[in-house]
Symmetry: C2
Amino acid sequence: MSRPIAIIGGTGPAGTGLALRWARAGETIIIGSRDAARAQGAAETIRQRVGANAGVSGLENSAACAASDLLMLTVPFAGQAELLKQLKNAIRAGSILIDATVPLAASVGGRASRTLGVWQGSAAQQTAELVPKGVSVVAAFHNVSADVLSSDDDVDCDVIVCSDDPRATEVAMELAAKIPRVRAIDGGKLENARIVEQITALLIGLNIRHKGHGGVRITGLPPSAYHGGPAS
Amino acid sequence: MSRPIAIIGGTGPAGTGLALRWARAGETIIIGSRDAARAQGAAETIRQRVGANAGVSGLENSAACAASDLLMLTVPFAGQAELLKQLKNAIRAGSILIDATVPLAASVGGRASRTLGVWQGSAAQQTAELVPKGVSVVAAFHNVSADVLSSDDDVDCDVIVCSDDPRATEVAMELAAKIPRVRAIDGGKLENARIVEQITALLIGLNIRHKGHGGVRITGLPPSAYHGGPAS
């Protein structure tokens, strides 16, 4: 995959963790932020970890959208809708937007182990309503611990990918499988994101209760269902 | 654990699968059904598989409730509330009721890969509202494939246990860990059942899409979080 990946709202732990892993896999990354200087700072930190040849740069979010048609959205749910409205003119037609947003109740001062009901069914379906026509939304990467992504530890987690556009599903699955040990699984239609998003809240509850960095593995499917690996 | 386990609505694949596994572990099982003869037939089938010494009998549901204070509920969501109302006088005070019900949309003619919204938040919380006072409800065993339980294959799945009564959580976790390779994980309060129930719908969707018998493993928690095993 030669096109750059623009990580919108990418200076938080999920965004920088994905940037780190993809930069290590040789991908070209643009970190997007409201503040271009902050994006450049995050990019510099990743270059220091990955090496001088790492293709990681930083741009303001709308410039990042203009620079790529492969977007990864890693913002808190509280800022998701507003950011997408602001970026409506910046997102290029034909783009693929991968959404990892989880509608945690923490967005409105509640617990991170609980979720909010989203009118459209899921945060990803809300995104699908807010992006320009012709943009394909994929839901993925919700259940991968940002802490683990940002570390040098193995990522012991599957990525369940949901989209109504099979081409977009394939792109997201390829990106997931670039992270060592991660397996990507086609989770069907975008509407299934509502369950995948919820799993993150369950994992956060388990993390609090048991003091861990929980992930999820799907067992019992035939080998053809798993992309990447090796199987756990 | 010496007390018998009464599996209410236990003649379906989930109920007989659990009965098979627990009978093999040396537990005493009472299969409950609307129809006592059907329950006895299911018990006989399990005795034939496990051996003549297997402690498996069959009773009408209310007689099964009267005979044990450890109840496992394995009915389709469509019949759950009505059955619990019928059994209100039969369920003994102080009983533990383990609920594996998933509010699949299939209950009302929809898809088994989708769920219904339950007013109380989850099928298990509906159960908690319908049982007599002093009965502790635990949600568990939703994600274990009934087909796999009913087979001689390894069960490659964790059981996430949710309850507001820590004593009931412990009992359900012990029962889960009696199934070889299953690990039990304390999933916190009963309200978290709403997510664990949803996971079953996701797994059913994956099973249809990929032709498998999906299960789930939680990764990344410290060893103390897992009961039973061995770890996958």
